[in-house]
Symmetry: D2
Subunit: 354 residues, 4 copies
């Protein structure tokens, strides 16, 4: 369909950072044309008034998220809304025949109770949980291609799941004692006006938050349990550090009791082999470690491995851009799969290291 033309795409909730980054990336994507931008707060104003960086480049007027309008104007819709809001609007878009990629947590869970426990919300359309596909291409590529509804992964889960996955294929590690420790740039909190995210109070500040029961924990557990074929739980601690963008995750995976030992070289081979067909996962050779600054504004996730043989502990480190592979360019990677474009279309930027 749309031979010789571009897919018409709408972004619902276009004025948060996720929306902004999607506009930035899709505006130069060879296969999509943005035909609708919506915003509750800024309806009626040009997008470039909210983000003057887009002056002359994206001056479309922000509209209300009317499903009928969206159905007439778009082939696909991306929703970048808070959880609890997505679950209300997404079904109405699907009902009108649209395919949807959703950025919230509302459709990431296959199990209703897990969702309702993690988000403290009743889900209005639980039957969609079975249909929605978790949009991590490295794990669910084929399902994404044909999905009507894709739930884009969270930034922390992306960084953790891809660091854990290659370890679950055999009994190397004790998968019941995983610890995930993550650092996030401030944009991960969204377009925030709270004093805690002000320059004055975020610069020079490293701080943990949500240290017990962070919602992303359940999301990590769902995916690694599916990979392992049995229920797994893990410990997760997010931290805020003074970066605009970027995420660095450190995974602690103890050797299984039966494990003799493993070298960093062997681990590297394991990861390298696991991701050998993945363009956006870069496994670093032993001795090299990821750095969030190397993947800024790219879709790459860099993974490094180390082994503390004395302590019988595997350490895996991953770095991504929380607005890149952690959100927006990953969403476009899924959209490329959904529409048959090359998976790298529009998201093959190199990180900006300086």
């Amino acid at each position: 369909m749309h031979q010789g033309d571009k897919y018409r795409i709408g972004i619902v909730g276009a004025t948060g950072y996720v929306g902004m980054e999607l506009v930035r990336l899709l505006g130069r994507h060879p296969g999509f044309r943005i035909t609708a931008l919506t915003s509750v707060s800024y309806e009626g104003r040009p997008f470039s008034e909210i983000y003057p960086a887009f002056t002359g480049v994206m001056d479309q007027t922000l509209r209300t998220a009317d499903p009928d309008f969206l159905a007439s104007a778009c082939d696909l819709v991306i929703t970048a809304l808070p959880h609890g809001v997505s679950s209300e609007i997404v079904p109405r878009l699907l009902d009108r025949g649209l395919r949807v990629l959703d950025h919230s947590g509302d459709f990431r869970f296959r199990d209703l109770a897990t969702y309702e426990n993690a988000y403290r919300l009743r889900h209005p359309r639980p039957e969609l949980l079975a249909e929605a596909v978790y949009g991590l291409p490295e794990l669910h590529r084929e399902a994404i291609r044909t999905a009507r509804l894709v739930a884009n992964p969270g930034c922390y889960p992306t960084s953790a799941i891809l660091a854990i996955a290659p370890l679950l294929t055999d009994g190397l590690i004790d998968a019941d004692r995983l610890v995930v420790d993550s650092l996030s740039g401030v944009s991960g909190a969204g377009r925030q006006s709270a004093v805690a995210y002000s320059f004055c109070e975020a610069a020079e500040s490293s701080r943990p938050y949500g240290v017990v029961g962070h919602r992303h924990t359940a999301e990590m557990e769902q995916e690694i349990s599916a990979l392992a074929g049995r229920p797994l739980e893990l410990v997760f601690t997010p931290h805020l550090v003074p970066m605009k963008r970027g995420m660095l995750t450190t995974l602690y995976a103890p050797f299984a009791a039966a494990t003799d030992t493993v070298t960093a070289e062997e681990l590297y081979e394991r990861f390298n082999s696991y991701y050998k067909y993945e363009t956006f996962v870069r496994v670093l050779p032993p001795g090299q470690l990821p750095d969030s600054a190397r993947v800024t504004a790219s879709n790459f996730i860099d993974i490094g491995v180390a082994v503390d043989q004395r302590m019988r502990m595997v350490k895996v480190f991953s770095a991504l851009d929380n607005l890149g592979k952690g959100a927006c360019s990953q969403a476009i990677q899924a959209l490329n799969l959904m529409t048959g474009y090359p998976e790298t279309a529009g998201i093959d930027q190199i990180g900006i290291p300086v």
Copy 2:
């Protein structure tokens, strides 16, 4: 001695960041008078030429670290030198009757093999290891008072040991499976001219380093083993994050097998009780978590606790200034003990949160 007067103090290696911060703090201490500043690189130049912030305040000329001169000019000497250098000069100062506080790793270890393994060096005066006191006042207050040689703790060990200590008093946690994950500001690397520490390459960069076998691991293990009364080992991972100053440590301590459960309130009581006489250790009530920005340029270490009951895991978080409680103001805390000044003299600054 020195009734009605100030102790004369010398700083050997005064132009690194530790030296600078010592000058800044001691310059306003009621009980010390800086009578010697030495530097290999900048000998003969005024201190304020290297650090123009001190113009008009500390213009003393930097000298060579001649032991005879130091013995004549000073009552006490602080050495802020690289390891391997300290071990050469400190004995010569002691031999001349000076009391010394050393910032390097050279005298932090009671066991020679541990030192030589961690630092890959032969120690020229191993007999001093038995005499030197590990300068963490919260653990070794009485020994510090009368010590001739105090080894100032590393920043990471300070942040970790004080987070662990209250957990070791009974069988609450499995002390053989501790994981220490730390974030450090860039000044922790010293006055560095390497590109990796340049503004352009450190801003927006979070990165692990020294992820296996970092020297500070052995230092942590020595102290917690002494507390526990048996050899303990732990996993440690340092990270660099884009702050000038500050350190945030996250400790993962699994429940012991026999532990039923523990609440955050109980943990708080435990920590609060453990540190109730400590001015500089602030235990935060449940629900509050430390933030490195709150202790900037102070001698405080803030500690917060959390319990992940589902995962049977205690989490302890500590925040300090790597140049404050992690180095220089902690050194002055020890000097106060050594000289009989009030322990808070000259280091009772409130953190600069903004």
Copy 3:
């Protein structure tokens, strides 16, 4: 009065950054005891709840700014309120016999029309303008000593006036063509929750604002006109740059037509002589230029001079901390004068350069 005791001082509007910094500095001042902290927004809560850095150090409960209470609890009051609010409360404090140091613009102007034009407000008590003393010690030391009401200068005016003053003593420069170009750290905007001051949107951002008619222009003009003995006007442009604290001002002062030439050395001598008895004004020798990082958290203002002889232009550069000499420590300098303490009491901190 208060022999052997400290002055009791109250801070009205204690939870903004100016209030916080005053608490931080006064908390360790030898001559003042904070006996009242007020806040409209946080009344009834402990100060340390708003600023956890002060936990255990300043836990006083925030109260309402009741004049009778303040009169009973305090000897002096500092008001750190928005303009238009100060002018309402300050007279009520004065009426109760309190001496007041005010941080707003409400009492900085001797001329009512100038105030009302700059601030677009009617002044409720214009007769106080004649009495209030502009609290710049370098210009109004004697008047401050005995003042009942001191109006603390703005940060930009402090940085500009002290850079201009030594040039006005003779016909060296064309004082009718002065240009003041200033850079401010983000804390200058106060404790802001606007997105424009968020870490994500302030980092990597340099931007002008208020480029025509900024209120501080009138304040600069008042003071330099008084010095020159005739009305002077100037051009002023403030910019926001990504620092927490700090201000850097560049003054462009063209040679007067009659001026033959002047060297940087001569300028240095002029400035050095002008400020030779000023502890907090440091004039840098030719070739050295100020750096905002060198005066962080201090009361110093560093001034450097240069001459572009080809263009017949004097350039003067000044650096201060907008919360230090630009606001709070300057206020304490004035309070020291008002109370007879040594002018440096409690504010002799060295800048924190790293």
Copy 4:
């Protein structure tokens, strides 16, 4: 030539920040293929070893800058070398038939004495100065198309010249009294290992440098003199502020004596009209002011205008990315002209505002 194919391009001096950014941009340009990367310091090593962000994307081996090799491997060469080095190698490349775009100051000047005075160097091939084209497309578009040697403008001159140019067309301003005040991100200093550019000493630091006789002054003067048709001189002051990238220039242009007045609206119209066919120059409507963060990693220069009618002063503000329009993407804009590609090819990225 090269029908159906891409131009082969070489980068001499590929491991500085300019080289890195060129690799980043050219690597995704539709019309160029990088066939040679050279480096003196890192010869023999893969580019991605120096910049790991490019792992898997640009792993070419760095070579020595042998002119014969470059002539055989490339159609065009970009030189990103220090001044004084460029002037040695560029002629040898031209002699072998290559077209060259040079980033240094060595070929920016039409007048030999101006160059030798500004750079304190003898020029080895002064006859090339007459031939070289100053690579600012907005002023020299046609000459660039056919040039054999293009001298890429400096970042400060780009920001200043484009802010001044529309003011020179009539007698509105007094062009003999222009003041240019600029702020630059730290990457403008290049890939620096000096302590002054370290994170610890550049963060929180705003500082002037090169305040008299900065080389870029002569470059600005050359171009505005050519536009005005008579020799003009100006005052220029650069400052370093704590950003990775970005430049903000404030121009002060006094009204000419004969000028009655002008409004911001009229100025806006003037600028808008002057740049109406320029894709990369965005003139902001009155009331809006540029922000360096809005053009990060783009080729845009945003220009805003204001009028201080009281002081009879025009203020013009421009923002660009010092590695974008200030260096690398501007170079590609010129290369597009040289090769007949659309002027926007490969450099139509939107700024990254967050």
